[in-house]
């Protein structure tokens, strides 16, 4: 099963390699990763997506917590969080397909960020399903280059009503 974990760490040299080394050394898998400083420049937040059963995830979280530079680990479950990834995709744009590409861009609310006589470069943000749907539709036109960020997540405000 896929799991999303966010890790608040000290923003210091070597911390990424401590986390990455933990995963590789113990045979855990990193599916995607994104890291950037928080509003407090002394801290960074990593969002890691990984796969495994519940025992494995429990062990990953405990091992992460054991690292001295790790301040907080949050495991996002269910639908209590918003998840986004971004892709940039360069797609062949021939005479006969240019209009179709723009129509897909419009439907997905993507953006054209670069245009050339032969290609469009498109930007799209969304959850994984949306991005994959977009890519599936563009694939027949011929994707020239493609890059995708790791997931970023944020907790939803609790909507629980207490009676």
């Amino acid at each position: 099963m896929r799991h999303v974990i966010s890790v608040l760490v000290d923003n210091e040299a070597g911390v990424l390699s401590r986390v990455a080394g933990l995963f590789s050394g113990r045979g855990f898998n990193i599916e995607s990763l994104s890291v950037a400083p928080t509003l407090n420049p002394e801290k960074s937040k990593m969002v890691i997506t990984t796969r495994g059963n519940n025992e494995l995830i429990e062990q990953i979280i405990k091992q992460l917590n054991k690292l001295i530079n790790v301040i907080k680990v949050v495991h996002y479950k269910g639908k209590e969080f918003v998840e986004r990834e971004m892709i940039l995709v360069k797609v062949n744009a021939r005479e006969d397909s240019r209009a179709e590409i723009l129509r897909i861009v419009d439907i997905f609310r993507a953006k054209v960020v670069d245009v050339s006589p032969k290609s469009y470069t498109l930007e799209l943000t969304g959850d994984r399903d949306k991005l994959e749907g977009f890519i599936d539709l563009l694939a027949p036109m011929g994707i020239v280059d493609f890059v995708r960020t790791g997931a970023v997540v944020i907790e939803r405000e609790q909507k629980k009503r207490r009676l």
């Binding site: 760490v9 080394g21 001295i68 530079n69």
Partner: protein
């Protein structure tokens, strides 16, 4: 405030941490520190003959005394030579701080002479490590290093010291406190969990306490003894836990696992309530994991949450310091005297069963015409004082020491349990002898592993450290040969050590004493003589070359399926 050099500040930080001994080896990148050390009187420097020896010595010093061991070496090869020792300490949770020299900061990354990315290399085998890039960070980093090494689940910490940082000047101020947002070990066990644990124990019919090295690290032996005696629950210990519970106590089952006693392994197989305290369900303990304690509810007390439910599913986890949790358990039991009495009475049947197992298959060995290594260890046990510190190398010598030497107190048995490092025992014994100059310190060795750090004989001679090395010489890498004999059709591939030095002459060459023993009848006298000699001694016992360690659980088999003598 006057400014002082980084190297002087470094020594001052050690002083503030109460360091009395440093084990190490000089080199180019640490010249400035060694220049300061030359005039230091209150901290003694012990020069090893190989950096690996220095780390193991710091480790032995820490295991025997409970204080943090300190090691100082140069950059590059000096630092990489410490890696095995650091990994050894990491696996066994030993508090040491290793200081390594580093090339000047402006050369880092340039493939400079004697440069190695030591922080990178040691990242997976240290509890934490640091590169000091600015001298103003030095006091804080050293303070944190010692704090991290000794608190929580202890472990090795490495601090890399670039040469220019040691030359820079600083207004020295040592921080009072450590503040690490991401490191707050939990010591106190959760009250609700402890109550559940006590409820379960009081209801049990065939409980067993399975105690590990954590009991020794947290100095909880007295509490463990109290808990066991209050309830009459039998206690088995791991290799790392030997001495945590007196092995001559009537409730002691001895060691469990691959070369554990029959009664200990049967007891954990049939127990209905396994109480793990400061142990981590290592594969050498559990054997085939699905058949380990199959009938039991398992409770697990450990300071490291990652140890819990890592290998076996635990029913009642308690995260906390063994000593504090045991105290809470005892307190709770004392409030429920009636139930405790009932439990203690109920255990009669259980003890009867354990006695049966013991009388059926006690620890034993066959006598023969050649010297039996087990006999040497037995005699050593008989002739050495109660507070003797025993280190071992790794392999058959280690298992015979664990089986046939009686450890009655904690911190007397120094062995590389997790990593299984050959060459550990001798330097570790040197470190322990530095910590306790007046005690008897013995290294039980094999002819293979003693040669892995034999150069430390010079260290022992130089500092007048009267370590006794008992070589159980079978001209083989005995444990590997044993496995080849059992599982590889006796194909002894490269395990014969037919060519070895004459250990008596070798000792002589180093200025130590050597004694050769070839007859069983001479064993006692030889050990007596060795113990009388004031300096270091190598005693070379030519033992039965084909002797194997039994009982034995083949790797991957359930612990109830033991090969017996």
């Amino acid at each position: 405030m006057t400014k002082i050099k980084g190297a002087e500040a470094f020594i001052e930080t050690l002083r503030r941490e109460g360091v009395r001994h440093i084990f190490g080896y000089p080199g180019g990148a640490v010249l400035d520190i060694f220049d300061v050390i030359m005039d230091v009187k209150d901290i003694k420097f012990i020069l090893s003959r190989h950096e690996q020896g220095a780390v193991h010595a710091a480790d032995g010093y820490a295991r025997s005394s409970g204080r943090v061991g300190v090691c100082l070496v140069t950059s590059g090869p000096g630092a990489t030579n410490t890696v095995t020792g650091i990994a050894t300490a990491y696996m066994d949770s030993i508090p040491i701080v290793v200081f390594t020299g580093q090339v000047p900061t402006h050369l880092i990354g340039n493939d400079a002479f004697q440069e190695a990315d030591v922080v990178g290399i040691t990242r997976p085998c240290t509890k934490h490590n640091y590169l000091v890039k600015d001298v103003t960070d030095l006091p804080r980093i050293v303070k944190e290093a010692f704090y991290i090494a000794r608190t929580g689940r202890p472990g090795p910490v490495l601090v890399d010291l670039p040469k220019d940082v040691m030359n820079a000047t600083i207004k020295f101020q040592y921080p009072e406190d450590v503040s690490l947002q991401g490191y707050k070990p939990v010591y106190k066990g959760h009250a609700g969990q402890i109550k559940k644990l006590v409820d379960l124990v009081l209801k049990s019919k065939q409980p067993v306490i399975y105690a590990g090295g954590g009991v020794i690290h947290s100095n909880a032996s007295e509490e463990l003894r109290k808990f066991a005696h209050l309830t009459r629950i039998p206690v088995t210990t791991t290799l790392m836990g030997l001495g945590a519970f007196p092995s001559d106590d009537p409730l002691s089952l001895g060691m469990l696992g691959m070369h554990g006693t029959y009664r200990a392994n049967m007891a954990v197989t049939y127990t209905d309530c396994l109480i793990a305290i400061g142990a981590r369900f290592d594969d050498r303990v559990t054997g085939k994991i699905d058949e380990f304690a199959p009938k039991a509810k398992i409770v697990h007390v450990d300071i490291d949450p990652t140890s819990i439910s890592k290998n076996v599913k635990v029913d009642i986890p308690v995260v906390g310091d063994c000593k504090l949790v045991l105290k809470d358990i005892i307190k709770a039991l004392e409030r429920r005297q009636e139930e405790v009495k009932e439990l203690a009475k109920r255990l009669d049947t259980w003890h009867g069963r354990i006695e049966e197992w013991e009388s059926k298959y006690p620890l034993r060995y066959n006598k023969g015409s050649k010297i039996k290594p087990e006999y040497v260890v037995e005699v050593l046990d008989k002739l050495t004082p109660e507070d003797t510190i025993v280190s071992t190398e790794v392999g058959q010598n280690q298992m015979w020491a664990a089986q046939f030497y009686k450890f009655r107190m904690p911190r007397l048995f120094l062995t590389s349990g997790g990593l299984g490092t050959m060459g550990y025992g001798f330097p570790a014994a040197i470190g322990a002898q530095v910590a306790f100059p007046r005690r008897t310190v013995v290294d039980i060795a094999g002819d293979g592993s003693i040669q892995m750090n034999i150069q430390e004989l010079a260290t022992a001679v130089q500092y007048g450290l009267p370590v006794k090395v008992i070589i159980l010489n079978n001209s083989y890498l005995g444990m590997v040969r044993q496995w080849q004999g059992l599982f590889y059709k006796k194909r002894y591939s490269h395990t014969s050590l037919a060519v070895s030095p004459d250990f008596v002459k070798l000792a002589d060459a180093y200025g130590a004493r050597g004694i050769l023993v070839e007859e069983s009848s001479d064993v006692e006298d030889a050990i007596k003589e060795a113990l009388k000699i004031k300096g270091p001694v190598l005693v070379d016992f030519h033992v039965d070359p084909e002797e194997d360690v039994y009982p034995m659980v083949p790797a991957g088999a359930p612990v109830s399926k033991m090969l017996l003598v």
